[in-house]
């Protein structure tokens, strides 16, 4: 049980996919304009991670080593299609906001990385918690980045105006602002890590 909790928590802080592994930056940069988008993207990615990790760890003994990557992609694509269709059915607004980045979860490095680096070597329970932890870590990172960007770039949080008379800093709503925020946060987390050791 203790190791399972460790598998879960490592994805949130020690091996955070965005700030420590620096994986999956493309969706992070693209969809973190508003917190709502960030949460939507995080949940979709978590669902895909969870599903693909579980299936890969279940059938890892039947997958021939030489064609394992195509097999992972097929499994991941299945879950991405499920996520995309559900999103289209139940929250078309979010689907329109995320656009191409939902189908692109198929090639998200975090999902493929966990299948290749973890799920194909570990049992069902640890893979489940690893996938969940990574998904939660990714979602939290997205929420942090998109909260900073939404507040500075439009003066709002989740669509509510916080401070009246605040002149939005447009640059944070643009791609350059995304790179700026992620760069500064990466630097900040590295600074914290270095100070600890």
């Amino acid at each position: 049980m203790k190791t399972l909790i460790k598998e879960f928590t490592k994805g949130i802080i020690k091996e955070n996919p965005t700030f420590v592994l620096v994986l999956g930056l493309c969706p992070t940069l693209a969809v973190s304009v508003t917190v709502a988008n960030g949460i939507g993207m995080g949940i979709a990615a978590t669902f895909v991670l969870l599903g693909s990790s579980v299936i890969v760890s279940l059938i890892k003994d039947f997958i021939p080593g030489k064609i394992r990557i195509p097999c992972y992609i097929v499994i991941i694509a299945t879950f991405v299609t499920i996520a995309e269709m559900s999103m289209k059915a139940y929250s078309p607004v979010l689907d329109r906001a995320l656009g191409i980045y939902v189908p692109l979860i198929v090639v998200n490095c975090i999902v493929l990385g966990r299948a290749e680096a973890f799920a194909c070597k570990n049992n069902l329970a640890s893979s489940f918690f690893d996938g969940l932890g990574m998904g939660v870590g990714f979602t939290l990172a997205l929420i942090l980045i998109s909260a900073i960007r939404e507040f500075l770039g439009s003066g709002q949080l989740l669509g509510h105006t916080l401070i009246k008379g605040f002149e939005p800093i447009f640059v944070f709503g643009m791609p350059s602002g995304a790179l700026l925020v992620i760069g500064l946060l990466l630097g900040f987390f590295n600074f914290l890590k270095n100070r600890k050791t």
Partner: protein, 312 residues
């Protein structure tokens, strides 16, 4: 101490120059343009310059303490950043705008790279581009010269872009600064006085400014009009921020190439990008983007124009 070295191609001769001495000389050389800006646009311009300088120096001080480095707030480099940033703003902006720009200049343009001498981009231009992208509404509203109130006018380059130049603006008006524009860029005469101080003192060399202005002039002469070789090149030299950029910002010690050959490449590149943006780009003016792009290319230029070691 790294910060006390003025590195050029060897051989080196010792000279009584230090970072702060040079920086304060540059400050003095920018004063004529500032006075001209205040005369042309009124006291608003003075408050903007002061706000930018104070914000730049105090954020330099704060980041010096936070990063536990030697505090370089009083060596003049932050003062220069503040002054150049303010010179790149229209005089009608609210006072928090230069403050925000100066803090961003020092924090993101300089401190995150490791302080004085480590920045890869000109900090003042980083601040200006940040303000331009964040609050375009304020950054493109230019008060009319000598009106001292809320009357606005377009810059000559913006009028050219929109095809609205009806009558010819006299070159002398452009030369003395009787036109819409940023605080420090309008009076070419004052800028040239400051540039002369720097050139006579030997703190900048002719390579970057001359090649920069020359390239822009040639390109706008060839492609600037509907017929080839009929462009108004003198108009392009005298309008916009070309003179300010070429003499004061493209010659920043840190973010430009070290060797004369590299500086020529840098100047030509700046001129090329400026002309391309002015003639075919979306913005009326391209000086700040040109210099920033060539700043980014500086490490490569330095690598390929390295001096041959004597005897090899």
């Amino acid at each position: 101490m790294k910060s006390n070295l003025i590195v050029s191609g060897s051989p080196h001769i010792h000279k009584k120059a230090s970072v702060s001495r040079i920086m304060w000389t540059v400050v003095i050389s920018t004063i004529p343009a500032g006075i001209a800006g205040v005369i042309i646009f009124g006291l608003d311009a003075l408050w903007i310059i002061l706000a930018a300088v104070i914000a730049a120096v105090s954020s330099e001080w704060v980041f010096g303490i936070l990063s536990k480095r030697k505090v370089t707030a009083l060596d003049g480099s932050a003062v220069i950043t503040g002054i150049l940033l303010a010179y790149n703003l229209p005089s009608g902006v609210p006072l928090w705008l230069p403050v925000a720009g100066a803090i961003f200049s020092i924090a993101v343009g300089k401190a995150v790279f490791g302080g004085l001498g480590q920045n890869i981009f000109n900090p003042a231009l980083v601040g200006r581009v940040f303000l331009m992208a964040s609050w375009p509404k304020y950054m493109t509203t230019f008060p009319k010269p000598f009106s001292y109130d809320a009357v606005t006018s377009a810059t000559p380059l913006a009028m050219l872009k929109e095809g609205k130049i009806l009558e010819h603006i006299p070159y002398l008006d452009l030369f003395f600064g009787n036109r819409g524009g940023c605080i420090g860029e309008v009076c070419i005469l004052a800028l040239l006085i400051g540039a002369a101080i720097l050139l006579i003192k030997g703190y900048i060399t002719w390579h970057i400014p001359v090649t920069y202005i020359f390239t822009t002039a040639i390109l706008t002469y060839i492609f600037g009009a509907s017929r080839l070789f009929h462009g108004d090149w003198l108009f392009h030299i005298l309008s916009g921020g070309l003179i300010l950029g070429a003499f004061f910002m493209a010659t920043d010690y840190v973010a430009t190439p070290l060797t004369p050959k590299g500086q020529v490449i840098f100047g030509v590149g700046c001129g090329l990008i400026t002309a391309v943006i002015r003639l075919w780009g979306g913005y009326p003016e391209g000086v700040s983007y040109a210099i920033l792009m060539m700043n980014a290319a500086t490490p490569f230029i330095d690598r390929y124009t390295r001096n041959r070691i004597y005897g090899t």
